[in-house]
């Protein structure tokens, strides 16, 4: 039970470089994730997906960004100006801020100075994620309300109900991990998984966290917030051009963040099984590979499950996930106390 963190001194310029690097990695990965999702979704439906723009269709997102950027930026007369413009900004900022938390590796020795391969490693790791998740919800809510449209408003209302219900289960699912690791620092949690990755002892927590993550990121089968069949596009119905891209960007980034958190907390972060210890520079790629596996699972689920009905969504969240998560936290606490005494 150590709470002692490596007191890591990094020069200010290292921190700026790290911040820029994380932002550019996020910006670089996102288009690839979007192409990857569309191509994999195609494979699940016996088709290729985009393969015309550039080699293997890799330039498809570039073409789409150019298309969106050249669209007219219009807004409804009923919308509330400042809030309407603020909403996508909030979404983006919170998503990038949460991405800074994902540890891509341990403290590495780069040119004689010790650098942590992560944006920040606060001693309250998961809480930081949930804090930014809660602020990100303002992006959805303000966007939906300030649009002054009924579809947007309905989408925002659904987002409010859904995110609040599932955030509870998501948080409770993590408590088991935190108790087992004895730390809230994400790097410490990864270190604690040296013996066994937590998705084995915390299997229930892992399942609950995964289910809740689908709801938190508005992914199918919990994409009621966007439900294109009934709500056009939910909270961002009235957005167009680059502002809509900002919302989509934040949504995919949130998917990456959730994958990163799941990899860190349950799938051993940068650790490899069977006692393989690669050099430090491989660590970020291990984390990225694990994240991509998790993202593939997201896409697999999207290709499989239809959207839930609203009452099913609520009863699943409150009647199944929440009791499971509570029970998991309780049992873990008892077991940990029993083992340590």
């Amino acid at each position: 039970m150590t709470l002692a963190l490596d007191t890591l001194y990094e020069a200010w310029w290292i921190q700026i470089i790290k911040a820029l690097l994380i932002f550019s990695v996020a910006l670089g990965i996102l288009p690839l994730v979007i192409v990857y999702e569309r191509k994999l979704l195609g494979r699940f439906q016996n088709r290729y997906g985009p393969n015309r723009v550039g080699p293997f269709g890799l330039l498809q997102p570039l073409a789409e960004i150019i298309k969106f950027a050249t669209k007219e930026e219009s807004r409804p007369v009923t919308s509330v100006g400042p809030l309407y413009y603020l909403a996508p900004v909030i979404s983006i900022i919170t998503a990038v801020a949460a991405f800074a938390l994902v540890p891509f590796g341990d403290v590495a020795n780069i040119f004689g100075s010790r650098v942590g391969l992560y944006g920040v490693d606060p001693s309250i790791g998961p809480l930081y994620v949930f804090a930014f998740g809660a602020i990100a919800f303002y992006g959805l809510m303000l966007g939906g309300w300030a649009s002054g449209s009924k579809y947007s408003y309905l989408g925002a209302m659904r987002a409010a109900a859904q995110l609040i219900s599932y955030e509870v289960s998501q948080g409770l699912a993590l408590i088991g991990v935190v108790i087992t690791a004895g730390s809230l620092s994400l790097t410490q949690i990864v270190h604690a998984q040296g013996g066994m990755w937590y998705f084995i002892p915390q299997f229930v927590g892992f399942i609950v966290f995964t289910c809740a993550s689908f709801a938190e990121t508005n992914r199918s089968p919990f994409d009621l917030v966007e439900a294109d069949a009934e709500l056009v596009a939910g909270y961002f119905t009235e957005y167009g051009g680059t502002r809509m891209v900002a919302f989509l960007f934040a949504e995919y980034l949130n998917m990456l963040v959730v994958s990163g958190i799941a990899v860190t907390l349950f799938l051993g972060g940068w650790l490899l099984p069977f006692g393989i210890h690669p050099p430090t520079w491989v660590d970020p790629f291990i984390v990225l590979a694990k994240m991509m596996i998790f993202v593939s699972f997201f896409i697999w689920i999207r290709a499989t499950l239809p959207r839930l009905r609203y009452d099913q969504l609520m009863s699943f969240g409150w009647k199944v996930l929440l009791p499971l998560a509570t029970l998991n936290a309780l049992v873990t606490a008892i077991v940990v106390v029993a083992v340590h005494s």
């Binding site: 699940f44 016996n46 088709r47 290729y48 697999w300």
Partner: protein
């Protein structure tokens, strides 16, 4: 006046609702079954035909764009080799339900012999944008001069370009449409 359903009402038989455990098991079991189904689609591979590069071969009796024919270079053609089969009788134009064929006949002369008969088609135009590809022209023709070909890529940028003249109909298509082999 309200409608009375009468006596023949059907009582719907429903299975008992699953309990909490049963429902959870059923939900997760069915989810796993669904995941298996979609993964099997990945294993199955891609069924797309990459159209402009790959084409679906057409059947021999496929009714595509029309062709006009000449006599082939063979001894049993009675010295007609190279002449047009069309004699300008306008039966195809009469048979055409869409009224898209225009034929203007002219007399053959000993100096200028175009077809095997007395007359030939001086003008033979098909407005492809009006054609419904029914094949009646082919049936009406007494000399098998017009047949339905296999070309189906007929889009163009202006309507005027879709009026096919005699020369265009007589010429071989620039790109051959793949034909389905016997038994395929």
């Amino acid at each position: 006046m309200s409608w009375s359903p009468g006596d023949d009402q059907i009582v719907v038989q429903r299975a008992p609702a699953p309990g909490a455990a049963g429902g959870t098991y059923r939900a997760f079991g069915e989810t796993l079954r669904g995941l298996k189904t979609t993964l099997a689609r990945v294993a199955e591979g891609v069924r797309t035909i990459q159209y402009p590069e790959e084409k679906v071969p057409v059947y021999p009796r496929f009714r595509g764009r029309h062709k006009l024919h000449r006599f082939e270079d063979s001894p049993d053609n009675g010295g007609h080799a190279g002449l047009e089969k069309c004699v300008g009788c306008s039966l195809c134009a009469a048979a055409c339900p869409a009224d898209c064929i225009r034929v203007v006949a002219a007399e053959n002369t000993p100096e200028q012999r175009v077809s095997a008969g007395e007359r030939y088609a001086a003008v033979y135009e098909i407005n492809i944008s009006r054609c419904i590809f029914c094949g009646y022209c082919e049936v009406a023709c007494p000399f098998d001069a017009i047949t339905m070909g296999h070309d189906f890529e007929l889009s163009d940028y202006s309507r005027a370009d879709l009026i096919f003249t005699k020369e265009m109909l007589l010429a071989e298509p620039i790109e051959a449409t793949p034909l389905r082999a016997e038994g395929e």
